[in-house]
């Protein structure tokens, strides 16, 4: 145990996700040995991010304004919505430069064991966005794990309506991987989702 404020700093850092007591101690001593200016800047950024950043009123993505950059961009196609679990998934998909539609961030996945049901996610807001008929395709891009698949199943059941195409991201082999090392579940999915290469 350290005295007073140092221990307080270690305890606070230790509350962050993925930071254990040893890492918290290492970061605390790094901060102590760093120039004052850097620490002040870090403190300012932390305060600013809490003050300025909020969730987009339309899609639920993080934004510094009422609506995010993607929802405000007139060049994006308003006929396709990609549904993701978290705001960080938007960044991952944007990095592909393959998708030019809009997003909808659910804020998690259905996980009864953690007490998270459909009402705890932004599903009602998604249905409101689909009400005017502009959207013709919903791409469900929830994580390919148990909770993500169950959320996709629930959404599919809810979204089936005339004039709306509901699609799910493909699952399968990672680029650059070896077939012999693929597990049977992933390989099975790759077979299920195989596509025609030539007519």
């Amino acid at each position: 145990m350290y005295e007073g404020i140092i221990q307080e700093l270690i305890d606070e850092l230790g509350r962050l996700p993925g930071i254990g007591p040893k890492s918290a101690q290492r970061i605390a001593f790094h901060i102590l040995q760093t120039e004052t200016f850097d620490v002040t800047h870090l403190a300012e950024v932390l305060l600013e991010v809490k003050e300025k950043v909020r969730f987009c009123e339309i899609c639920g993505n993080v934004s510094e304004q009422d609506t995010c950059n993607i929802c405000r961009d007139p060049r994006r196609s308003a006929t396709t919505i990609c549904v993701v679990e978290e705001a960080k998934d938007v960044v991952a998909i944007e990095r592909t430069r393959e998708f030019r539609g809009l997003y909808h961030v659910l804020g998690g996945a259905i996980s009864p064991i953690d007490g998270i049901g459909p009402d705890d996610l932004r599903i009602r807001q998604l249905l409101q966005r689909l009400a005017d008929g502009t959207v013709t395709e919903v791409i469900i891009a929830t994580d390919p794990n148990l909770e993500g698949e169950a959320t996709a199943t629930y959404l599919t059941r809810l979204l089936v309506q005339p004039g709306l195409r509901v699609t799910r991201l493909a699952s399968g082999l990672p680029v650059g991987g070896d077939l012999e090392y693929a597990d049977e579940v992933t390989l099975g999915r790759a077979f299920e989702g195989r596509r025609l290469v030539e007519q």
């Binding site: 259905i110 009864p112 698949e149 199943t153 597990d183 579940v185």
Partner: protein, 241 residues
Amino acid sequence: MPLYRDEAVVLRTHKLGEADRIVTMLSRQHGKIRAVAKGVRRTASKFGSRLEPMMVVDVQLYEGRSLDIVTQAESLGAYGADIAGDYASYTAAAAMIETADRITDDSGSLQQYLLLVGALRSLSRRERVPGLTLDSYLLRSLSIAGWAPSFVDCAVTGAPGPHTAFVVQLGGVVADSVAPPGTPRVDPETIDLLAALLAGDWPTVEASDDRARGQASGIVAAYTQFHLERGLRSLRLVDRR
């Protein structure tokens, strides 16, 4: 014995660090095991998908000081994908998994393991209505744990039934002479259904009507939550439509 092997059903996973997971499993011989699976969140992981909840695996572990380490995992039953494909089955399975997690400990219970694997297999094959499979699982799981309810003879005096007063705190149906004032009465059809769910008498279960099923599920939920002391979070989210 630093290295050991067992069959297990994955109950829960928690993220650890950058790419690892803590996996909680109910094993055939070693009871509940908590182990670290390294690198399984990476797409190149050799056994990440095998350690998803509701998967039954043949697993090799290395004994650690606080948590064991998963060194190999082979799939024995990939029930998760089929269960996740039906929302009612998924919510029922989640309630089973939470119950198994709460009711078992480090000491092995082969019966609990076999019951859970059987119930998950049944859900994945869509053999029964998911809500009924769940109710049957809950009653049988509590019975194995030593909290078997009585649906025929009085739970207090042993007086031969049938009785219609059900008191969760007293362990099942009770004779009128010992029933606390104001005890609600349960339809005889519901009592029959509860007994059938406990015994695994599926022809009787499947012949029951919606009213009896609704009453039975409420009684099973109350009985389970009473004995597990803390409420099951997943139970209120079970899709019984």
